[in-house]
């Protein structure tokens, strides 16, 4: 079995001793996923009429935007193409506040089994829909999980990363292979690399609020655990007097359909206030984080060891 065959990887060891802008010691990226629950093929028109979808766009999103503004934070908003089309007023409001719009699939569908031409066509449609609204091609592409997915990492096909490289994306938004940006490589014989931004389901609200969702789940509310994890990760990155920080990136992911009032909003408010006030923290958008990474660790600096791709001699599998 080729352990590195057929999926995406990077170099053997992550770089250490990183430098962040403004003398910050670490970075926190705030990602607001603008999708709403849909079916296995993603968001259908009826899914935009549900109470939770209307709540997300009409009530929650304006509040979250206000919170971000109060704290001077620009976030990254992964937006499925169908949302850009149907909820264009909401998305325009996001753009006007200076946040970054990133692509998030055509309908936030599971692309695992799509044929390559089909997936490529959907990507083009997505790029077109977002470009029409924002006036520029999206720099980033996200494939975040849906709350009811079996695994929390999100879905890509065997072709997704290669297609994104071909379409000139600056970064892929959510890979779990590091807690700093890292390069994805799909073919060791070709030097093409795509930058991936770090993600961990342990900092994504959808796995802590009303999780697992009904039907089948019990809607357990554990957002105070999420708050604790956000804070713990942040403090571990910053460090203490006894222990130096890890100096890396925390990616906090929230969903307006799940967050926007009550205790959940207070948790978000506390965290945003904290990261905006601590001088050790840099809060970039996805694109800013990617640009900084290109400047400190350009793709040419990454050595892909051929040995990582070969099966070992004497293998028995």
């Amino acid at each position: 079995m080729g352990w590195k065959a057929g999926y995406t990887f990077s170099d053997e060891r992550s770089p250490t001793q990183l430098r962040w802008p403004n003398h910050a010691v670490c970075a926190v990226s705030v990602v607001v996923d603008l999708s709403v629950p849909g079916g296995s093929d993603g968001i259908r028109p009826a899914d935009l009429e549900t109470t939770e979808a209307r709540y997300a766009f009409d009530v929650s999103l304006p509040r979250i935007l206000a919170l971000l503004e109060q704290n001077g934070i620009r976030a990254t908003f992964p937006v499925p193409a169908v949302i850009a089309q149907s909820e264009s007023l909401s998305v325009e409001r996001v753009i006007s506040r200076g946040h970054e719009i990133a692509a998030h699939g055509l309908r936030h569908e599971d692309v695992t089994a799509l044929a390559r031409p089909d997936e490529a066509a959907r990507m083009d449609q997505t790029i077109d829909a977002l470009s029409a609204l924002t006036g520029r091609r999206p720099a980033g592409w996200y494939s975040l999980a849906r709350q009811k997915d079996r695994f929390p990492g999100g879905s890509i096909s065997a072709n997704t990363i290669d297609l994104l490289m071909g379409k000139g994306f600056k970064y892929f938004g959510n890979s779990q292979a590091d807690d700093v940006p890292h390069y994805l490589v799909t073919d060791p014989r070709r030097p093409r690399k795509l930058l991936a931004l770090p993600y961990s389901y342990s900092c994504d609200d959808q796995f802590f609020v009303s999780f697992p969702p009904r039907p089948g789940g019990t809607n357990i509310e554990r957002i105070l655990t999420l708050e604790s994890i956000w804070n713990e990760e942040l403090e571990a990155m910053i460090g203490t007097e006894e222990r130096p920080g890890f100096n890396r990136v925390v990616t906090a992911v929230i969903h307006p359909y799940l967050n926007g009032w009550g205790h959940r909003l207070r948790v978000l408010e506390r965290f945003l206030r904290k990261i905006s006030r601590r001088k050790e923290v840099w809060v970039p958008t996805g694109s800013e984080l990617a640009s900084h990474w290109f400047s400190i660790n350009p793709p040419e600096s990454i050595e892909i060891r051929k040995s990582l791709w070969r099966d070992a001699p004497g293998k028995v599998d």
Binding site: T8, R150, F151, P212, I229, V316
Partner: protein, 339 residues
């Protein structure tokens, strides 16, 4: 070379399957006695009753589990903590067919997490034992070499971490070959003999290859022996509640979303410190199992740093390697020895 399973091929397969069932149920992988008790033929205590010796019992397979009554640690040691690390990176993820973006979490372990866990153990002078699939030395050679350079102990954790469906298709010769390859590979890096294993090999094969200890199962919370046909290994028991993956890995071994409750680091630290306090009071044994991919996240390593320091401050703690404990038990308490 032709070989047969102990008790016939069928029973061996059943043995493996019942381990699988335990694992699937989210329970500790049980070696020896606990395992047989869970298999249909073991229920009812057919074997254990007649051979009950207070601290030993015989399973229907003939395997004898013997506890160590009044185990006393070396002079000055109040309790023992083994920190063990299953260095799986993405190997278990790929063999369990996790989706690509999920398997990238395993790469975090090999690229980032492993280094932090080596550091936090070095900094706290903790005698880490790494359980390694042999193939990990091909995927992440620098970290494996670094672990050897720092003097940490290497133990077997299969050749390529096959999924359960594949394990049951491997015949005895293939299993022996996997064990041999892994031991060879690890020994060539560390320059030291591999004397431990955390996998599903036949006890006969383990002992005949020089293995002194296993580390799965909980027939006792103190180290104990399992013996078959005059061959014995020490079992260094492991409670599932001391396995970091139970708190931090979503969909562990493909478990359903309904079972997922990702914990913050301090809650886990609190549980483990409580466990330690009881063990420290009693003069017991504690085995903490970490995984590079989940245990190596920043907040969790920071928690481990605090936990190790609190444990050390309690006094009289031997942060031994598994080999240290296994040798001590073999030298002083091997079954059949008097006293």
């Amino acid at each position: 070379m032709k070989s047969t399973w102990p008790g016939g091929r069928g029973s061996r397969v059943q043995w493996v399957l019942s381990r699988r069932a335990l694992l699937g149920a989210g329970m500790t992988l049980a070696a020896g006695g606990a395992l047989a008790a869970a298999s249909p033929s073991g229920i009812g205590g057919r074997g254990s009753g007649s051979d009950l010796l207070g601290n030993a019992y015989r399973m229907s397979s003939g395997r004898v589990v013997s506890r160590i009554p009044d185990l006393k640690w070396p002079e000055g040691v109040r309790c023992v903590v083994n920190v063990t690390l299953d260095y799986d990176a993405q190997m278990a993820r790929v063999s369990n067919k996790e989706p690509r973006l999920e398997a990238t979490e395993g790469e975090f372990g090999g690229r980032v997490g492993i280094w932090r866990l080596l550091d936090v153990c070095s900094e706290n002078d903790v005698g880490l034992t790494l359980f390694l699939p042999g193939r990990i030395a091909d995927l992440y050679p620098s970290s494996v070499q670094e672990a050897a350079r720092r003097g940490f102990e290497f133990a077997d954790h299969s050749w390529d971490h096959p999924a359960w469906a594949e394990i049951v298709t491997l015949d005895r010769d293939q299993q022996r070959e996997h064990l041999r390859l892994t031991m060879e590979r690890l020994q060539s890096i560390s320059g030291k003999p591999v004397i431990g294993s955390r996998w599903f090999y036949a006890l006969e094969d383990l002992v005949d290859n020089g293995i002194l200890y296993e580390s799965m199962g909980l027939a006792d919370d103190m180290p104990y022996f399992v013996t078959e046909q005059d061959r014995s290994v020490v079992v260094l028991p492991l409670g599932v509640e001391h396995n970091d993956a139970m708190y931090w890995k979503f969909a562990w071994l493909r478990s359903e979303p309904q079972g997922q409750r990702i914990a913050d680091a301090q809650s886990v630290g609190k549980i483990w410190l409580e466990a330690f306090r009881e063990v420290h009071e009693r003069g017991g044994y504690l085995n903490i199992l970490l995984h590079d991919a989940v245990g190596g996240r920043a907040s969790r390593v920071a928690m481990l740093d605090k936990l190790f320091k609190e444990m050390r401050n309690a006094g009289g703690v031997w942060f031994a390697t598994c080999g240290d404990v296994a040798r001590y038990c073999h030298e002083n308490y091997a079954p059949g020895r008097s006293g």
